[in-house]
């Protein structure tokens, strides 16, 4: 190893006009937003929604969540991001400071199963003031119990913590929601991965 890694530093409280300008209504463009898949994208359209809680159980209002996921066929879109053709970009980014209940949300399609996994999931990166290093996790889906039971990564998680990674399906009048909260600490502390 010829060079040492550049240390990670916190995004701090003021990232919004740089990283999530559209969502927060700043006069700047952004390269990702809460829409991972537009209406034309193939697959089952879903919303992933939840709250980030700190160690006191208070919702965090200045976290930024990113999702990187496969499309409905289980393929990652590595081409330069251009939603105009398929309506699917694979990357989403959402700050927790604009929703009245301080939630993050992503409008997307349910991913297919990627080649080296057994169950569908999305990859999640968590950033916030108070985190000097971002944390990686995954969201799985509760209506995939059979496939979840075979997924090597999910099964490598101690059984009593596995639930922290599983989003719960709720059929609402406006569409399918998968609900999952991120707990930074406490009894329900989310499982984070060293990837």
């Amino acid at each position: 190893m010829a060079y040492g890694e550049t240390p990670s530093q916190t995004v701090g409280p003021y990232f919004a006009y740089g990283l999530t300008a559209g969502q927060y209504a700043y006069d700047f463009t952004d390269i990702a937003d809460p829409t991972i898949a537009g209406p034309d994208a193939a697959g089952e359209h879903i919303r992933i929604i939840g709250t980030v809680f700190d160690g006191d159980g208070n919702p965090v209002n200045d976290a930024m969540i990113e999702i990187w996921q496969a499309d409905a066929d289980g393929n990652y879109n590595e081409n330069p991001i251009d939603v105009s053709e398929t309506g699917f970009r694979g990357l989403g980014r959402c700050g927790t400071g604009t929703d009245a209940k301080l939630r993050f949300w992503f409008d997307t399609v349910k991913p297919g199963v990627v080649k080296d996994a057994e169950a569908p999931f999305v990859n999640v990166t968590v950033f916030m003031r108070g985190m000097l290093v971002h944390a990686f996790t995954r969201f799985y889906f509760d209506d995939e119990a059979e496939r979840n039971a075979k997924d090597p990564v999910l099964q490598s998680v101690p059984a009593d913590r596995r639930d922290t990674l599983i989003a719960k399906r709720v059929d609402t009048p406006t569409g399918i929601e998968y609900r999952i909260d991120i707990h930074m600490q406490g009894d329900a502390e989310t499982v984070f991965f060293d990837v």
Binding site: A2, Y3, P7, S8, I81, N123, M184
Partner: protein, 233 residues
């Protein structure tokens, strides 16, 4: 596609760094679970060059309303590479910072220092095929924060990069050489390894300084390297 070497935790801060108080309730308390790097971690978003507009790399111009922004013009050059020294081309670099007075455009920032109507403080650029990037900006000011009595953040620029895969994602801060606040800053000091911390400080460069226009700094960024054996794709 290949997989990436494990993150070198010795180069990074712990999740709970008691000097930086916000970490106490926000950092995970359980060690992250190691998983085998695979297809997922080796892939990542790519961005079309068109997603960076003409003035996005020039923060001295991209927020102009009716004049020049106030403060010291600087130009930052850098190379994005991995731990084996391999350049990382076509990587998106996002930037945001305070203005020369130490005030952010962000609505939450209540510091009693003036906004600059001609400076927004956010931008982005791409690395070229040799991994090099460059942006122009105004040197950001120091500002107070509530971590402890008389706490001041050193001058810094926030930088966010994706790199070649999901696993190489990095958000960091670039500091300036000789800043007396560095040794007092719990965010900078959160990285316990002194040598690693040095990598957060840009180098002044008279060679990159533009005659009569802007002081030059060099800030190289090192991302995780790849494993030797390419994964079957």
């Amino acid at each position: 596609m290949s997989t990436f070497k494990p993150r070198d935790w010795g180069s990074h801060a712990p999740y709970i760094a008691p000097g930086y108080k916000s970490t106490l309730l926000r950092g995970p308390t359980q060690a992250p679970l190691a998983i085998k790097s695979g297809l997922t971690e080796g892939t990542g978003p790519r961005f079309a060059p068109a997603s960076v507009r003409e003035l996005d790399f020039d923060l001295t111009k991209n927020g102009v309303v009716n004049g020049e922004p106030l403060g010291e013009r600087i130009v930052v050059h850098g190379r994005v590479m991995d731990t084996d020294g391999r350049p990382q081309p076509n990587t998106l670099v996002e930037i945001w910072q305070a203005n020369a007075a130490g005030r952010y455009v962000h609505k939450v920032d209540q510091h009693d220092a003036p906004l600059d109507p001609n400076f927004r403080g956010s931008g982005r650029c791409f690395t070229d095929d040799q991994g090099n990037y460059k942006f122009y900006t105004i040197k950001p000011g120091a500002y107070p924060w509530g971590n402890h009595f008389n706490a001041w953040r050193p001058n810094h620029i926030h930088i966010s990069l994706f790199g070649p895969g999901f696993a190489t994602r990095l958000v960091t801060q670039m500091y300036f050489p000789g800043d007396p606040l560095l040794d007092l800053d719990p965010i900078f000091l959160g990285t316990e390894d002194a040598q690693a911390r040095e990598r957060l400080i840009a180098k002044f460069s008279i060679d990159k300084t533009e005659e009569g226009f802007a002081l030059g700094y060099q800030f190289d960024i090192v991302l995780r390297g790849r494993n030797g054996t390419p994964m079957e794709n």
